[in-house]
Symmetry: C2
Subunit: 344 residues, 2 copies
């Protein structure tokens, strides 16, 4: 196991000083321009033939950089996240960065600890796809000067750049779709209010109801504690118990919708015959469902890409201000879970 060549080896081979080699190989042309073309060429060749590869650990120790970024997500086994992760990777990898992916499971203390782990690792920046609406730890990290951007969710603090989806428009598309089908008693299973998505989607629902002149009692709302199927079941149950005349349930997320569908099946209520259901996110594998779910598609891969690009800009061009707010477009995907209400 012979060790790999260093800058010194190249210096020896070319007869110039190590620092000259460093300069010749620096990707920043401002430094290279100070050297004679001839030396640069010689150094390049020597590096090539020796198979030189810079030692990032050493360079990093010197300039305190690691060319790694932390990626925080709730849980990679949630199919929503793999495409996002690949989007991130697709811009990071070509630029020489690697990502350290950590799963918070939406547990606050785990998030805190992982944040600590990432800082200790000296990551050059963080993409947080698991942020809470208020997140003091996060703001603290940002204040400490570590580039950070949130993905899918935003922190209300206002200092952290974010990339989110057009939640408002998504809810409006779903609502209008149901309304246009003829539904007039549309319930809402809202998401956890501790996430910006939960809060924004609920707000959008209230807003459009008001716009359409629908009274609050005709648009019952139950907020879930978290985004999962069990909560979807529970909330759907409560809605139907309180208000058996509901003909459609607009859910703040696909997993809640899947739970709602499950409950309907349990109770022998036909979907979409008796009750229509819509989701949000268009998670992969949704089309495996026996009944296709009408939902709002978000740009998963692109969201990953965009957040990574913004983070890189923050890391590498700290002079240029990075965009603070990026909102990606969404689109409605109509499948089988929505239909006109039974015309009783």
């Amino acid at each position: 196991m012979k060790k790999r060549p260093t800058i010194k080896d190249i210096a020896r081979a070319t007869g110039v000083h190590a620092s000259t080699v460093s300069r010749a190989l620096d990707p920043d042309s401002k430094k290279r321009n100070l050297l004679s073309a001839e030396v640069i060429e010689r150094v390049r060749e020597a590096a090539e033939t020796l198979g030189y590869r810079p030692n990032r650990q050493a360079a990093g120790l010197r300039i305190s950089r690691t060319w790694s970024v932390g990626v925080m997500i709730p849980d990679i086994t949630n199919t929503l996240f793999p495409p996002i992760v690949r989007g991130i990777e697709s811009v990071l990898e070509p630029r020489g960065y690697t990502s350290i992916i950590v799963n918070t499971d939406n547990i606050a203390e785990r998030e805190t600890r992982l944040l600590f782990v990432l800082r200790e690792r000296g990551v050059d920046g963080i993409i947080n796809g698991a942020a809470q609406r208020t997140d003091p730890k996060m703001a603290q990290v940002a204040a400490a000067g570590i580039p950070i951007v949130t993905l899918n969710r935003k922190v209300e603090d206002g200092t952290i750049p974010y990339v989110i989806n057009d939640e408002r428009q998504g809810i409006r598309l779903a609502f209008r779709h149901l309304y246009d089908l003829g539904h007039r008693r549309i319930a809402n299973i809202a998401g956890a209010q501790s996430y910006s998505t939960g809060q924004m989607r609920l707000e959008a629902f209230r807003e459009i109801c008001a716009e359409y002149g629908i009274a609050e009692k005709d648009a019952p709302i139950v907020a879930a504690d978290s985004y999962n199927e069990a909560e979807g079941q529970r909330c759907a149950g409560r809605i139907l118990d309180d208000d058996p005349d509901v003909t459609a349930i607009l859910c703040a997320n696909d997993r809640l919708a899947i739970g709602a569908l499950k409950l309907l099946r349990t109770r022998g209520i036909d979907c979409p015959g008796q009750v229509s259901v819509t989701g949000f996110n268009d998670m992969p594998f949704l089309d495996f469902l026996p009944l296709g779910l009408t939902t709002v598609r978000i740009k998963q891969f692109e969201a990953g890409q965009t957040s990574a690009r913004i983070l890189l800009q923050m890391i590498e061009e700290s002079d240029r201000a990075a965009p603070m707010q990026t909102v990606l477009p969404v689109e409605l995907v109509v499948r089988e879970s929505s239909a006109p209400p039974r015309s009783t």
Copy 2:
């Protein structure tokens, strides 16, 4: 953004030399035992109050370690892999390691390049979940002294430790299940023969057919080029074209099985009424399928854990020999896609 305290700061605070601090804080007790208990205690306290955290970059530069491992998988968007990745993470993280996950997409040149990226990153070891049966690059890396273990698949070269599932037993369970249901014309969609899984599962199929005294013509085999739904469709089509009397299709993997199911639906052939289908892996979200797939469950999370443990042993206890071959148990999961053949 005040920088974090170094070993020097502690030295100054306690009045001892930096090297003494290093020794006092060394987790290896052999080194600490040389120091007086009093000094160790003082250093510990100072480290605590200053909030000292060792700088891995610096330590790594010195001892050439990074406390990071590379994890190669085909594609994180394949739901089979997230549980594996979390299994790996669950043992790595508590021991202070992070994992760098890369997706090969089963493209050889991508694999080569990523392997290069990982080496350049100086990972302490590699878990390869995307290995080919013959993989010179891999053997080369292993020979270079970088700890490496393969996961799910094995390299035939024989020098690389592996953690795989009991492919043979899995195929036998599926076959017996079909046979016991009464099937006598069982076809096989085999996996790509460039992966050990494809090869082993096919071998097991041939073996058990022979055991049951089934002639080769009564057990048609078509090998897929890769593990995906399109190939499953194609292969199932060929099987039914050549041999319309087949009553069951045993697939080397779930995705092939999903493809086969799709083809049956296309042709209006009822499953399990006319043709039964089985898969392999028990991928998450399989239960979303309109028709539950009978399959062989592999221990995904545990496989991740086991491979990580073995890798850590190779890294940290290079003296103790790591287990070369680990075969995890599998179990049959019976769902709706298998039933007795129509008794025509």
